[in-house]
Amino acid sequence: MTTPSPSPRLPFPSKRAQMSFLFLFHALVSGGFIVAYLTGDEDTYGMHLFAGYTVLIAVAVRLALGLIAPDGSPLRLPHPSRAALGQWLGWLVRGDSRAWRGRPAVLSWMAALLLAALALVTVSGVAADAVSKLEHLHEALSTLGLWLIVGHVAVVFGLHGLKHLQTAAPAPSPVHPTSTHGATP
């Protein structure tokens, strides 16, 4: 009697390799965006194109990998949830340390918004290269992308600061057993 063989799974790189790819992606996108944003002038249009296409290719590869990544992979596309965001905001307002431990829900919202914005910015850039009427749209989307990035940086550093504040604060001293009334020796 033969048992049915399990369905073949696509070979996927190790988690460590996936994390390395995410680091590379983050570096390419941030570096490319900074260079593209600073070289949007006509005189440096060649640099702007080079940096912009770098971001476009990085985002396209990231989205493609996100679509085929198996469950549990760090490459899976973010699935932001409004309920999780509401819960996270509640923790943050109450000063609950769960707001800055692990992977806060706000980061998955930021990742989704940034990926969408970067895709729109780069695709509109390609379109504006062909149709000059779209230049203003590309500029507006780039400015929106810049503010999202500024927000992302602020959230990341804010959470990092909160985490460090908590670890730097002295732990509450336990009540000494002898100071309790009625304690037997």
Binding site: A27, L28, G31, F50
Partner: protein, 45 residues
């Protein structure tokens, strides 16, 4: 981890800026003097 990520970003920015600059110089292709001219324009930006 944050420090490592910031280092990666700084290195990538410099590499992309250098590669993009080389691309721009090659695309201009005006011969001698164009590199300095492009560098001045980029820094002026």
């Amino acid at each position: 981890m944050l420090r490592r990520m910031l280092l990666h970003m700084a290195v990538a920015t410099l590499l992309i800026a250098s590669a993009a600059f080389a691309w721009q110089v090659m695309a201009d292709g005006d011969g001698a003097g164009s590199t300095a001219g492009t560098l001045v324009r980029v820094l002026a930006d």
